[in-house]
Structure formats: C-alpha cells, structure tokens
Symmetry: C2
Subunit: 361 residues, 2 copies
C-alpha cells in the first residue's frame, strides 16, 4: 500500500503512559502540529513530558482520533480495555508482546470495540527509560510491527500504519503470534544471552574486568535494561522464549562437548553457524549491510578541529557512513574513526593526508 | 613503574605473522621510525603489509632487539621457540591465551632462552582479519596484558611494556593462568554467547529478521569472527572456558525454570544481576563510565552540512564524546547523533536550535 491510501492522522492523539516510548511518540506528533493529550499514573512523568513539549494532560472531554497505549506489559490489557470503553477512538498499544494482550482484550470487550484495537510494536528503545530519555528521533528508520487480529477494522489498521510512517519508521504487518515468535528470537533471546554473560561479570575480580574490550561491552549493553519491565515482557512471551531457550540449551551442550573433546570440526561448524547468523541480519534500514572500512584520523582535542576535518572530508566528497570519536580526557589528541564504504577508504586517506591530517591505516 | 624505568625500544623489531595484530604493531613501530622486519608464510600478507608501510621482509642477518610473534594460537608455541633459537632477542607473543604457550616453550628451550620470553595480549581486534584490516590506532587506549612467567628476565618484561606503551595501550601485568581465566570471562564467554544467539538467526524466517533492532546487532557482532581462529583460541583455553560455560549452563537452567514457573522475583533477581554485571565493566579508558545523553540533529545529506554542524558545535564549545550518523541512502536528510555529557545536552540543543538546526530531543 502507498501512503496515499492511508487516512490522515489528524489527532487528537492520546498517549497513555508517558515513558520512553510514549513520550517519544508524543514528541513526534506534537512536532507535526497534531494535538497530543497525555495520561500517566505518575504526575512527575506527566510534568516532564509536558515540559519537553510532548503535549498536555488529558481532560475528560477530549475526543481522541487515536489512543496509543504505552504502559508496562502487565498493565497493557487493562489500559487497552479502558481506552476502548472510554473513547470511540482507534486504539493501539506499543507493547513488546502482542498475542496475550489481544486475547485478554478479545475476552473483555464486544466485537465493535475489539474491531477498533490494532496492536503494534516499534523495534526501538534504549537501555534507559522514562520521559527524559525520550526522543522524536527514536523510531527513525526502525522497523515497527503492526499486528492486526482477524476482527480488526481495515481503516483502524491503516490509521496505525499512518502513525508508524509519521514516526519515520517502517511498518511491518504480521500476525500477533508470529510477531511474538519473531521478537523471542531477535530481541528476547539476545537480551537473555546478554544477561547471562553480564551475570558472570557481576562478581568478577577487578583484574579480570580491567581487560574488558569493546566485544564484551557490545554483547552485554542491553543487559543494563530495567529488570521489572523485562520480567513482564518475558512472562508475557514465556512460551516462545522457552522454546528458544531449550534450543539454545541444546546448542550449549553441543558446544561444551565440542570444546571438551577437542573436536575441532564440530567447534568450527558451531562457530560458522554464528557467522551465518550475523550475515542474515538485514542492513540498518532493511537493505543489505554494505562492506565498510574505517579510516582513523588524529584530531587535536579542541573544538574547531572536528569542523575542519569534516570540512575537508566534505570537499573530498566521500560519503561518511558513521563516525566514532575515541574521546580520551587524558590526551591532547583524540582519534576519530570515519567509517566509509570499503572502496572509498584509500582515496579518503590519500586526500586527508594531502591536506596535512595524520591518519592511521 | 614510570616510563623512565623502561628500556628504549630502539629496534629492529621483528614481527612474525603479518595479520591484523602483527601488521598493526608493525605500523606503530614504523611510524615511530623503528626498523621493522616482517615474517609470514603468506607471500601475499608480506606484500600487503609492506605496501601499507609496515616494514620489509626479514633477512637472514637481521639482529632484532624484539621479536613479536603474532601467529594463530595453534602455531604460537613453535613460532616462539623458533624465534628464541634463531635470535638473541627478547620474544613476546600476542596470542589470546598465555598459559599453554608458556608451558610448551618451557618444555622445549633452556633456562637462558626461556628468560627472554614474555607473553602478552592486546585487548584489541576486529571481527575482520588480515593485514588490510590493520591500523596503527588499533591499540589506542586499550588494555594490553603482559604476562611474565617466574623465570622471565626483568629487563625483558620492561621491554615488552615499552612496546605496549609505544602502541598507546595500557599495560596490565598478570600471571599467565590468571590472564587465561580473565579472558575466558570477558572475551571467550561473550564471544560464545554471541555465537549461540547468532546460530539461532541463521535459519530464521526473513519476516523475523526484518524486526532486528540495534540490540541483536550489538549482541551478535563478534560472532562474525574467523571460526578457525576461534576454534584454536577456545581449545587453547578449554579448561577455563568449560568452567565458565558450566556456570552459565546452571544460570540458564535457573532462568528457564524462573520463566516457566512465572516466578517473578527469581526472574527479576537474574535480570538485576545482569544490571550489576554491565555496571562492573570499567569505562572505555579505565575510568568510570560517564553519564551521557544523545542530541539528534537533522542534517541534509550533502557534504558541506556536517562540516557546518561541527563548526557550530565547535563555536558553542561543548565537548562531543561520540557521534553516530544514521545514514539512510533513501533520504535527503540524515540524522546525526551527538553524544555529550548529560549536563551539556540542553545547552547544546538550545544553541543549535538558535543557529537554525532541526533537533530531536
């Protein structure tokens, strides 16, 4: 379907739950000039979200076009049912699990109300939570699952898709149960693996932790997330999660016996399957991941220099895919990593060197 | 000890194995004006490393001050013994495992030769391999374990520390066996967890993979590494790795029963231990990790704009910790994420907005 088929998201949009996701959605809509009304059991969250320009507190006579339920998983069902009975609006939720809330709602509301409910799930977030971590850019270029049930009104589905597109995300329509199996694999399992690895660091000697490199930081980053939130997510999707954990347990046993028996070929096969898995993940924006190379440039640690570097890179006309600044307070010169398509690395290095930059190959 | 106590690294430095690590060390030394001679069984690696300016091929009458053995784990022992018998130089290796090579060398050379061997291990690398991935910046600010055995000559230990410092890394002196337990925990276990998660993606439906967010990318990134290399690393450190895998297996069983039994408190306890583990990892340069916040700026996707952004950020005089460019070929406007210390975010946003930039909070 093209954007033209979509009903206009004119608002008002009611956001229930002014946390990271809810406030981020509210910020997007407010910036688009759509009226946003906020509900949250926490007065502080409401004040913070309002202060960020996300919208105003909801009033009894508000007549929202769309209600977005962005509360913790354990409260999602109640909040959806409440929104359907309070308003005549299309209602979506942005919870991480989709089958359980649908079943709960289906058992508690009539068919006309149920038809106005369409679940969804933006694949965006942060290990931080709360409205202060919110950003209108949170969903930019991210996948956002839209999970209509068989009784959902087509215009309700399209209105939710319109919200997704306004947020700059890519809508992916799938069945609730299929969504839950998908997130168990690409979100809940990675999260739990990070938790298990991080758990082994908690009581580690400082001498061991001092050797930490980027690898362990990347693998464990998501394990810093809110435990109460994740407990609810995992219990709401326990069936799909347990199926996968059982598969991983079998893989772990195979791995342990391969290591224990010095069985090289078995171990290589397991490690090679890991290669295949990383290659299977699509590129950041759905496209294939492009091969890149890093160019390192020494940049004196005072403000004007970065501007000069990007000025030169701009004149060279090479597209910079990403940038990392290895900022070390202890040093006068910081190292800046410019990530470019593999073929552009040598020309960029040569051009920067000819302009007097110190590069590291 | 301070740098003053260290013997000067005057060279020549012989690098055995012109792969990612060996060529990177050679590049550092060459840039310092130290003569570097290279050995590799692969003529192509030698040509490539030479072409990058890493050094020249070794000649029979070279008299190196220091030999750096940077070959795959399975060949490390032979290469160290060969270097000790060929030369009178101090010999170090940069292999990922330290106890096994020492024991092998101790069993094959006399006490005088053994005294010239000091193992080491830079905590730097890449999921890519080979000389083309090499960079003189690879070790910048990274920990680098130096693992002297009881019979090592003190001046040999200090010469290896001098190399570490010349590479811009931070030397951490520890016993070989302790090092191996440390890397099992902060490197080999995270790697295997990434492999197990990635292994579950290999045969996943495309519809599932399309929902992939940053979390699964971070958790699985290291699983893209060379399987043959990792097979050798894991088998060389199998004892420490198996001990940890057994602990993780027990944790996994506890996790599965907590999820299966809907036992909220147990699950929260496991997830909270994950929080503690991520908090235990020291900051990038050994210091504590500082709280940061991201500021998102919309940047038109043509070269001059990034320069203008950094020019303005420079004038504002706020220190930018890191930068990410969410580069989307499909869009005229890219989103640039500026990571700054938490307190600097609001001032930066206000200043950028006053200069006409579109920001997202």
């Amino acid at each position: 379907m093209t954007d033209d088929d979509l009903p206009a998201l004119t608002g008002p949009v009611e956001v229930v739950g002014a946390g990271l996701i809810g406030t981020s959605i509210a910020l997007v809509c407010s910036r688009l000039g759509i009226e946003v009304v906020l509900r949250d059991t926490s007065e502080e969250n409401l004040r913070t979200a309002h202060g960020l320009g996300a919208g105003r507190a909801a009033a009894p006579d508000d007549r929202p076009q769309l209600v977005v339920v962005a509360v913790p998983p354990a409260s999602v069902g109640d909040a959806i049912v409440d929104a359907l009975s309070r308003t005549g609006a299309v209602v979506t939720d942005v919870g991480s699990v989709k089958a359980a809330p649908f079943e709960e709602v289906a058992g508690r509301v009539g068919p006309d109300d149920l038809a106005r409910y369409v679940g969804s799930h933006p694949m965006a977030g942060s290990e931080r939570s709360g409205p202060l971590a919110a950003s209108a850019a949170l969903f930019d270029g991210r996948p956002w699952a839209v999970t209509p049930h068989p009784y959902a009104r087509p215009d309700a589905v399209r209105l939710v898709e319109a919200l997704v597109l306004e947020c700059g995300a890519a809508p992916l329509v799938m069945e609730p149960a299929e969504h839950d199996r998908a997130v168990a694999r690409i979100s809940h399992l990675p999260h739990l693996a990070a938790v298990l690895v991080a758990g082994r660091l908690a009581a580690a000697p400082a001498e061991h932790l001092a050797l930490s490199g980027q690898g362990v930081r990347d693998v464990t980053r998501v394990a810093a997330s809110d435990p109460e939130l994740w407990q609810q997510i995992l219990e709401a999707n326990s069936e799909a999660v347990l199926d996968l954990l059982a598969e991983v347990r079998a893989d772990l046993d195979a791995l342990m016996s391969a290591v224990a028996s010095d069985s090289g070929p078995d171990l290589v096969e397991i490690l090679t399957r890991g290669n295949a898995g990383t290659a299977a993940i699509p590129g950041k924006h759905g496209g294939p991941a492009r091969p890149t190379r890093s160019v390192f440039v020494a940049v004196p640690d005072h403000p004007g220099e970065l501007a000069r570097l990007f000025g030169d890179a701009g004149e060279i006309g090479i597209n910079i895919e990403d940038v990392h600044i290895d900022h070390d307070p202890g040093r006068p010169v910081g190292l800046t990593e410019l990530v470019v398509e593999r073929g552009s690395a040598e020309p960029l290095l040569a051009a920067l060197e000819s302009r007097g930059w110190t590069t590291h190959r």
